[in-house]
Structure formats: structure tokens, C-alpha cells
Symmetry: C2
């Protein structure tokens, strides 16, 4: 089916909206809309409203730029968390990934992107100024760079290092090495090389 003609403009509008999402083709979009059509009116209204609310009511935390229902996010407003360590990440998915490990109890700072000349994203497009402000205030002991191990990530790390190195703060990055479960044979040589250079004392 190529759907040259829809029996209803409302149906066509909804299909077009779903088809605008990444990875959703027109056939899938049509199938999703047909599924919505079979549901209760109340359920469909809730679906539509959840999308509208998402944009109208959501906040970005004034301190860390993480997504939040309130002006200050749950992490920044949690008194039990270490205030003097900030983990710098690209986006909120990364915050969620690190939170899911339950290993980190400090603060975050969401850059909202990564320096990428190819995509036209420079330092001024990222939330770097207010990170520097926080460091300038003098209460931060450590900044952890937790960016992707790509060229863009390395570039951003280097830029942040140059901006923040003049302050009295420890700058660290995530440990690089062989991922747990990976076979040495299939580990790329750069990762393996770094893993040898940064070897740790053996722990029983």
C-alpha cells in the first residue's frame, strides 16, 4: 500500500505526524494511528495531552540543565548528595545511564550537546558558561568529564580542560579500558593500548 489517498484528512494528519518521528515510516505510522483509533476516547486524549504537556510544562533544572518537573531537579535538590563533585555529561540520557549504575552520588552538569564542527556546534552552543561560574565560586573540588569516547568527546574534553584548568579544581575523566564481558581479541587497539598503560593493581 502506498496510501496515495486517505479517506480522512484528520487521519492523514495524524499519520504524517507519526511518520515525522525518526525510524517510523508511513506504514508503521498508519498502523500506530489505527491502534489509537481503536482505543477509548479518554485514553487517546491522555496520549495527546502527555505530548503537549511534555513541551509546555517541563523544566530544565536551573543548576544542572537536567530535565525536571520543577525549577530545580531532584538530584540538585537532594541534600544527601555530594555537592562538591560535578559530572559533566552531554545529555539527559547520560544522566539517566549513570544514575542507573547507582555508583555516583555527586552532582551533574548537562552540556546539552558536544563540540562538533561538522554539525556546526561550537562551545557557545553548549552550557559551558554556567559550569565555569560554578567552578569560579570555589566550592567544587572535582569535575568528572563523562563524555563519549569519540573525536567530538575528546575535543570537548580538551576545550573544557583549557577553560577550567586555571581554577583550583581536580579534573578527571571516566576510566577507559576493556568493557566488562568483552573479549580481548575483539577489543580495538586504542582501547587495548590505553588499558595496558592504565593498568590497575590486581584485586582479589
Amino acid at each position: 500500500m502506498s496510501f496515495t489517498e486517505f479517506p480522512s484528512r484528520l487521519l492523514e494528519d495524524a499519520v504524517n505526524e507519526f511518520a515525522s518521528l525518526p525510524g517510523i515510516g508511513r506504514k508503521t505510522a498508519f498502523r500506530l494511528v489505527m491502534n489509537l483509533l481503536r482505543r477509548d476516547s479518554e485514553e487517546v486524549r491522555r496520549f495527546g495531552e502527555s505530548i503537549i504537556k511534555l513541551h509546555d510544562e517541563i523544566h530544565y533544572c536551573k543548576i544542572c540543565n537536567n530535565i525536571s518537573d520543577t525549577e530545580i531537579c531532584n538530584i540538585c535538590s537532594d541534600d544527601k548528595r555530594e555537592k562538591s563533585v560535578i559530572c559533566v555529561v552531554e545529555n539527559i540520557q547520560d544522566v539517566m545511564a549513570i544514575e542507573n549504575t547507582r555508583q555516583y552520588k555527586g552532582q551533574y552538569h548537562v552540556l546539552g550537546g558536544i563540540i562538533s564542527p561538522i554539525d556546526g556546534i561550537g562551545p557557545s552552543d553548549l552550557k559551558i558558561d554556567n559550569l565555569e561560574e560554578k567552578v569560579k565560586e570555589g566550592n567544587i573540588k572535582e569535575i568528572i568529564f563523562a563524555l563519549s569516547t569519540t573525536m567530538e568527546g575528546d575535543t570537548t574534553n580538551y576545550y573544557l580542560f583549557r577553560r577550567l584548568n586555571k581554577y583550583n579544581v581536580t579534573l578527571t575523566t571516566l576510566a577507559r579500558g576493556v568493557a566488562i564481558g568483552d573479549e580481548l581479541e575483539y577489543t580495538d587497539e586504542i582501547t587495548l593500548g590505553r588499558a595496558i598503560n592504565n593498568r590497575n593493581p590486581y584485586q582479589q
Copy 2:
């Protein structure tokens, strides 16, 4: 990522709504919602409203049960189409599929399902009464059964045949045979058997 914890309830709600769609897992749902978050407010509002409108404003044609923006659908209200032939289909996707062939210029009747004891769908769950009414009025010359070639389709065909056979109307079904582009070697034996029995004069 297992997304045990979301930084925002609004975000979680939207992800849950998308994940309720068929074939959309939680990871995909999250990716779709993140895509919406990056869009303009206006665009997202339009997306949400298209879903709400879909349910609140859409009509089902009073004559044929096809989906429509008006009380009577475009096909039923088109004076150029043959009024005395009705093609009986399971759902609106089938109307669209047949319309896309541009080969049919009659009316439709959408049953809204197919008789399927396994799914608890009986004749009373389908729009059969008003099909019979139309036939009873005496202006219909031909009814085409255009249902799937499955057990459920055959059952429904047989039921419709029993209900409508007493009226002065020709009952036909779609031609069954080897699909265009199919190799004989891989055609199932029932289809191939029917294709031999219902062979047509060779046309150059």
C-alpha cells in the same frame, strides 16, 4: 539502559504512552520522546492535537462505516460512482488498498472486523444488519465479498452468503489465484489447485 528512574514524571508519562503502541519498546519510545523534546513548542502541540482531534472529530460514514471527516464519506457521496455494487471489506485499510488499485468504481461496506470465534468476534459484533438493509431495499445488483483468504474470511463469507442469498442480488468474491510476480514452485497447493480449476482463457 533499563530506565528504572526518570528525572521527570512528564517525561515518563510520555514515554509510557509511546511504549503502549504496538511494536514500540521503551527504548524506542524514549528516543521518540527525546526527538519531540528537541522540536518547537508549536510543532509538538500540533502533534498532540492531531491525536486528540483524530478521536474527537473523526466520523464513521453512516452509509458504509468507512472513516471520514464528514457524516457521509467521499466515496458514498461521489455521484460518479456506481451505486448498485457494494464491495464488503473487513476494515478501512482494505478500502484504501482497493482504492489504490484505481480499478473499482462502486461502493464499499466496512464490516469493522471479521467473524473469529477464537477472538470472540461473532456476527453481531460486525456491521452486517445495515448491509442487509441496503440489500433489502432492492437497489443493489451485486455484492463483492473482498475478505482475507483465511479461515475467518471464509467463515464470514459463508455467513454473509447465508444472510444475503435469499435476496435478488449477485454475490461474488475476489478472484483467487497465483499472485502476480509469484513463482509457481513456491505457491501453496490450495492456491495453485484453485488457480488450475478457475483457469481463464489466454489473453495476448
